[in-house]
């Protein structure tokens, strides 16, 4: 009978969570709660509007007739039902009783709570002027307002929009599209003064004027005139003109009335701490109604971030903190590319870099302080907005990028999407992602149909920018202009993978500080969500551990990508390619004979010379790999690591031994360099080259580490790339001797090994950390350079063995290459 007690109904009863405010921030929080723990709460939602949760930032396209209300619905009635949520639509909560823990709605509905979530949003600000309450004065906030504007547009001709900010301009454009004559009245001298500097604002005004809008700037409204409804508007300077409707879009204020009445501490908004908790511990708040660290937010990205963090605390996981958001703005008016972020005006302590091209109607300005981007404005060409915004939020030192910063990240050498850099003029059929064949129209449709808000979502759903990533800027732009004024940014502190909230840096630091020496130990220590992780984090952890503990770590083959597990490169048909190492690109007749014999013996269908001066045997069956390797080993050849995140090749030209222009023996240095670096595992593949003179026949300036011989010694170049995005190297420095080249190379590769994120090429790593720090540690500080080089030499003691030979000589390992055999015929 005791058994019954443990199942008492009291313990089974769920906690009650009540949400006031059925809008984007609140419902997003509920979605995050359901994702984290669908069983924890009985959920009740009150919404004053008679609709489900819709995408408020898409009201402008609805007004412009580009979308219908149905298309902007985020959560329909079915969603609430499927998730067992009690929804009270069209009911306004009028009272919170914090003693009884109840909320009471205007129709008398009462709901008790254990946790209360306030997401009451914001109210439009109404100018306190005579006539502000006349019929025909409309705000721009919800579906009801849009309906009113659409009705007015069908009956009337003249409209005035008060407010030349983001919302006002979108309303004005929408009404103009509906056929009204629209005048925008703005108190300040320039439009969107909180997001744009004067030049950009003038460009914007000009282009909106070309689209038919009229502007009255520096105009202070005194009264709205009319008897029964609006007939005109009157200004402080005495001027007056007639209008049929007035749209008031002068700003919003947090809707804190309900909270204030309940005695919850409010200032400009409802005050919350970093966990989104109000002064009442059982009451949380998110969204536009909230004041966090003195700031209020009205854009969707911060609200979603708040929602995620709030949910984390509601379900008692309690690890995330909201630290505030930096926001960017994108105007959602068809045909206008405009982006702004941060401090774009600057002051005495800042510098400006400006690009102005009236012919192309392009204007870009970045404000820089202490080599960091503080903010910027872009008009006409905004493809790099997301990149600048990221540099700004990550506080990247841009001193190394200054000379080409304004030309953007995409200005040269990106393959895969032609010359497209602006999406506003782009056809729906234009291909954006050349790897996966995704067109602009596909992306727009996925964003609208599947209600996507983040780059990650778009990548997952459409595969656009999910492969080589060169079109990321374009995809972000399409996302921004489709979902409107703002969109969720990928956070600057990216978790390593969905299995954890920890960043690459944190994971590496924790491994070292806590002597973690296996993948399971690391995952346990950092409370990984999946006990054996995923295909993204396991290879990363395996690398971080072997880099941290070269002598102690036992490599985990099952956590390596197949190529590194079987020491060959998987091909599309499931066969493999085999590439033996050829030191510095040199070979011998005997080696060539052995390669030919292997190709014959194993019926290898294709033999090809690679870009890295090696010979590639293509189409080897997995079960033949050990035997083919054994034959190659026999002839003195070892694995070329052409499949690994490791040193690939050192490409060389013939140099002074043969070439009439050569000034140094580049081949010999190439061989020495390859003998020094081979076998080491690196965050991503690592390619090197040595050229015998500045004619640079070995193409050293597009390698991770390139050496170019000059009469007086060797130039060292780093961070080049010949792939998706062609990038020439940066000059690291110049040295005299071969020994110095080797020491710098070892130090550089070790710094890269210890500092870069897994799967980050040197080019991206250098762009992230800056060349200056590499120079500081590797060039200017001889002692540090030696330490790096010595650590590399130490780790090479454990890395320089031929994996082919190891596999061939290990019977247990070769078994993995064979099919399981079923031996005896079944008796029929």
């Amino acid at each position: 009978m005791n058994m019954m007690m443990t199942n008492s109904p009291k313990q089974l009863q769920k906690q009650r969570l009540v949400l006031i405010g059925n809008g984007m921030a609140g419902v997003r929080t509920i979605e995050e709660v359901l994702k984290a723990n669908p069983e924890l709460f009985d959920i009740t939602i009150f919404g004053a509007e008679p609709h489900g949760n819709y995408n408020r930032i898409m009201l402008s396209p609805v007004l412009a007739g580009e979308k219908t209300i149905n298309e902007i619905m985020l959560n329909d009635d079915d969603w609430y039902a499927e998730n067992n949520i009690t929804l009270h639509k069209g009911k306004t909560v009028t009272k919170i009783d914090r003693v009884k823990r109840q909320v009471i709605a205007d129709d008398g509905t009462v709901a008790g709570y254990d946790r209360l979530l306030l997401a009451t949003g914001a109210n439009p600000f109404i100018l306190p002027i005579p006539g502000a309450d006349l019929p025909g004065v409309i705000t721009f906030r919800d579906i009801h307002d849009v309906d009113q504007m659409l009705a007015a547009a069908s009956e009337h001709q003249k409209a005035v929009v008060i407010g030349g900010g983001l919302l006002g301009l979108e309303a004005a454009k929408g009404l103009a599209t509906q056929g009204m004559d629209v005048t925008v009245v703005h108190l300040m001298d320039t439009l969107m003064e909180r997001q744009l500097d004067e030049t950009a604002a003038k460009l914007l005004q000009q282009s909106l004027e070309e689209q038919g809008l009229e502007f009255l700037t520096g105009a202070e409204t005194e009264a709205i005139t009319g008897e029964d409804r609006v007939t005109g508007i009157k200004f402080k300077d005495g001027t007056e003109f007639a209008t049929d409707i007035v749209v008031m879009a002068v700003g919003i204020k947090p809707n804190k009335a309900l909270a204030e009445k309940a005695g919850i501490h409010c200032e400009r908004g409802i005050v919350v701490n970093d966990t989104m908790q109000t002064y009442d511990p059982s009451v949380y708040a998110v969204g536009e109604c909230v004041q966090h660290r003195k700031n209020t937010y009205g854009l969707v990205a911060p609200l979603f971030e708040q929602g995620k963090i709030c949910a984390n605390h509601l379900v008692n996981k309690c690890v995330l903190r909201y630290l505030g958001s930096v926001t960017s703005t994108k105007l959602k008016v068809t045909g206008i590319d405009l982006f702004s972020a941060g401090d774009f005006t600057g002051d005495d302590t800042t510098e400006e870099i400006v690009l102005r091209d009236p012919g192309r109607n392009v204007y870009k300005k970045l404000v820089i302080k202490d080599d960091r981007i503080q903010g910027g404005v872009m008009y006409g060409d905004t493809v790099d907005g997301a990149w600048y915004f990221q540099l700004m939020r990550d506080e990247i030192d841009v001193s190394d990028l200054r000379d080409s910063l304004l030309f953007g990240k995409a200005h040269l050498g990106n393959s895969g999407h032609g010359e497209q850099n602006q999406i506003s003029g782009m056809d729906n059929a234009a291909e954006v992602c050349g790897c996966n064949g995704v067109c602009k129209g596909d992306i727009v449709q996925a964003i609208t149909d599947k209600k996507l808000f983040t780059l990650e979502d778009v990548r997952t759903q459409t595969k656009a920018s999910a492969s080589c990533g060169s079109c990321t800027g374009l995809v972000e732009q399409i996302l921004a202009s489709t979902v409107g004024g703002d969109y969720s940014e990928t956070p600057n502190e990216k978790p390593l993978c969905p299995c954890t909230d920890h960043t690459h840096e944190e994971v590496r630091r924790v491994i070292l500080e806590n002597d973690l020496k296996t993948i399971p130990a690391t995952m346990r220590f950092l409370e990984w969500r999946q006990p054996d992780g995923c295909a993204k984090c396991r290879p990363a952890l395996n690398y971080y551990l072997l880099c941290a503990w070269p002598a102690d770590y036992k490599d985990d083959g099952q956590s390596r990508f197949i190529n590194e597990r079987v020491h060959a490169n998987i091909q599309k048909d499931g066969t493999y390619s085999v590439i033996p190492r050829m030191w510095g690109g040199t070979t011998t007749p005997d080696e060539l004979r052995a390669i030919a014999d292997v190709a014959d013996k194993f019926n290898i269908p294709d033999v090809k010379v690679t870009g890295g001066q090696r010979i590639n045997l293509l189409g080897v069956k997995k079960e033949d790999l050990p035997a083919a390797w054994a034959d190659l080993n026999e002839a003195g050849m070892v694995s070329g690591h052409a499949y690994g995140k490791s040193l690939r090749t050192v490409k060389t030209c013939v140099g002074s031994e043969w070439c009439r222009f050569g000034v140094q023996d580049s081949t010999a240095l190439g061989v020495a360099l390859e003998k020094a670096l081979w076998g080491s595992w690196t965050p991503h593949k690592f390619k090197a080259a040595v050229s015998g003179c500045p004619r640079n026949c070995a193409e050293s300036t597009i390698k991770d580490f390139g050496v170019v011989a000059v009469e007086s010694g060797w130039e060292l170049h780093v961070g080049g790339n010949g792939g998706t995005k062609v990038r020439a190297t940066d000059l690291l420095g110049k040295v005299k001797t071969v020994e110095e080249v080797l020491e710098y190379a070892r130090a550089f590769i070790q710094f890269y090994r210890e500092d870069a994120h897994y799967l980050e090429r040197t080019v991206h790593w250098l762009e992230r950390v800056g060349l200056s720090i590499v120079k500081e540690r590797i060039v200017e500080n001889a002692e540090l350079r030696k330490e790096y080089a010595e650590r590399f030499i130490f780790s090479q003691k454990y890395a320089q063995f031929d994996p082919w030979q190891e596999q061939v000589s290990n019977e247990k390992a070769t078994r993995d290459y064979e099919h399981l055999k079923l031996v005896r015929k079944l008796a029929s």
Binding site: D532, C534, A535, I570
Partner: protein, 117 residues
């Protein structure tokens, strides 16, 4: 009426690993036998529904495998691709008895298959 076909010993497959077996009459192509960290065993045709990648060569995690060609994640229990990708690889019933792995197949399917003792 079904029959158990002995495939291999459990220890012939590494934890978080996989081996391939040909089962003529049951499957047109090779079948991948997976072993998870918890020593569950699953059998799925060795052909990703996306572009026919050999699933046996992927990284095994939880009760899923990530295809080595384009990173589709395939559930081992039913062969279904994880959302948003859509597709299904054929899966087969397996069971472990006395540390050996057996495939369950209908008797008429087993005519051409050899078995292990």
């Amino acid at each position: 009426m079904s029959k158990l076909i002995k495939i291999c010993a459990l220890n012939d497959i590494r934890p978080l690993g996989s081996r391939i077996v040909e089962l003529p009459g049951i499957s047109a192509g090779p079948v991948a036998i997976f072993r998870t960290a918890d020593n569950d065993v699953f059998a799925v045709e060795d052909r990703c529904p996306h572009k026919q990648g050999p699933l046996s060569q992927g990284i095994v995690h939880g009760k899923s495998v990530t295809c080595p060609l384009h990173n589709w994640v395939i559930g081992l229990e039913n062969g279904e691709a994880a959302a948003p990708d859509v597709g299904c690889a054929k899966s087969y019933a397996v069971k472990i008895q006395d540390d050996d792995v057996y495939l369950e197949a209908a008797v008429d399917e087993t005519q051409q298959v050899a078995v292990n003792e």
